[in-house]
Symmetry: C2
């Protein structure tokens, strides 16, 4: 089965202690699409500017990503520049130029509409809701958000959360959204806002999925998938979106939808996040094989499972 | 097989959002002993003051902990007072009175000397080395330290690290000691200083064990055991020492010593840490059963293992 993702396509200039990458293709929808493309067909909805050329589209096309939903607008593509210091979990943003994304009005191409899986990457909750409503038949909707919308668009976000089945955010966002400093209690508060499941991403420590009682199975027990300790984190940009791509892509590729599949998807999310950070930008995500992915899945399992 | 622990016995006054506990029995050696006592016989080396009465010793005795190594000195027992805010991972210290601990000169009772397992709880590395030398026949030595000794007694600590088989510290301490911001690289640097294995405690995210090549088995792969998301963290004091007690106690109770046992011990460390934080002070650790512990071990496994 296929998945539609709506979100940013961007050019990024990224500095880490390993060097600087200038104007590389990035954006949440790009990382998500590439990561998910190893599991299922992917269809992207985004907007780009005149600086987005055939060579950039080729990166997506090579992974068989359907780019019919990419709008080409006058002006420049979303641009982000940031730097990572000693704490690789947090970037210092130097520049954010929304450019053509500022007036982005996402529309779902007719041939996308019957797609069974949908991921709403981080964007204004109104945009997310708009796409969600255009794809009312979706079987499972994943979504992301960030502190900015939690603080500045709480009502619109509350509406969007009712339309999302699985929300994927980080610890800080969960505590802010759930208005509670204890993570599992914050998670319960978030689940009460709409989502059936909440994936809390812990960066280098992995991720935890919390389930609403009765959703995808029985019980309230969470499930925690640790991340791989990685010696060479060259560029953490896009790790969370790559996690989401691996997670949602794996789910979309299954026939069923139950807790055991969601748990396994947590590991594939971690696997794709771990690949993403090994190289600048999306480089590593462009040239994987399913064998690479399965080998790393086995490694994750070995590093966390008792005999 | 038995284990000897040397470290602090203290009285703590602890404030969390759940309330305040005044002058409760604490200290690294106390938490360690109680946690380890569910797995193997424990012998404690510590110093207490005149305010340490029979009712306090009874808490240890009830768990069959050998208190022959507790020295009774004139003056007051080590006292600590601290408060936890929204971030339960970090306490704000209000008072630290070393009291009788200031002149602590640990000696190993004759009947302790042939004990096969030893844990050097956080203390001046010179004290740790002194006890270690008196127990030269120990089969496995675990140890703890903290930022203060890493920064202020680096040479003495370097000597002590050569005498420790498994070091248990947290992320910040690992990065400081290993002089490296990337965790797995910092861990390799720490292992090069002496220990055969390094357990890095991640607080609410669990812990990772790194092995020196060839130590306890083959390969350089780490192993990561996640912690349980806990809704009611009443008092995080002693979680790390309780982890160490469960970890070392489980190991001491086994006939063999290999990586699979160390991995399983990581889970039992997490289990004991998770119990410790459920009540103020050592309350929860005083009244467990092995059945409680095994049930929580199964829960940890269920929450982290794929089918």
């Amino acid at each position: 089965m296929s998945i539609v993702v709506v979100g940013t396509v961007a050019f990024d200039t990224i500095t880490t202690k390993y060097g600087t990458a200038e104007g590389v293709l990035g954006g949440a929808a790009t990382y998500f699409s590439l990561a998910a493309s190893y599991f299922c067909p992917v269809r992207i909805i985004a907007v780009v500017g005149e600086d987005f050329g055939a060579e950039h589209e080729a990166i997506l096309k090579k992974r068989n990503i359907d780019t019919a939903g990419i709008q080409h607008a006058k002006g420049k593509t979303f641009f982000w520049s940031g730097e990572y210091g000693a704490n690789v979990n947090e970037a210092t943003t130097r520049i954010t130029d929304l450019n053509v994304f500022q007036n982005f009005n996402p529309t779902v191409p007719a041939e996308y509409r019957d797609t069974e899986f949908l991921f709403l990457a981080n964007a204004h909750p109104k945009l997310q809701a708009q796409v969600r409503h255009e794809m009312n038949g979706a079987r499972l909707v994943g979504g992301d958000t960030m502190n900015y919308w939690i603080s500045n668009a709480p009502q619109e976000l509350a509406e969007t959360l009712k339309l999302v089945d699985v929300l994927l955010i980080n610890d800080t966002e969960t505590k802010l959204l759930g208005k509670e400093s204890n993570l599992p209690r914050a998670a319960q508060n978030v689940l009460a806002m709409g989502p059936k499941a909440l994936v809390v991403k812990h960066g280098e420590y992995g991720a935890t999925i919390f389930f609403r009682e009765g959703a995808f199975g029985i019980g309230r027990h969470p499930f925690r998938a640790p991340a791989l300790p990685i010696e060479e984190v060259r560029d953490p940009t896009g790790a969370g979106d790559s996690f989401a791509g691996g997670f949602m892509g794996f789910i979309a590729a299954q026939g069923e939808l139950n807790r055991e599949i969601l748990k396994r998807a947590m590991f594939f999310g971690g696997v794709m996040g771990s690949f993403a950070v090994e190289r600048f930008g999306t480089e590593r995500l462009q040239n994987l094989t399913r064998a690479d992915i399965d080998a790393r899945f086995r490694l994750f399992r070995e590093l966390t499972h008792l005999e």
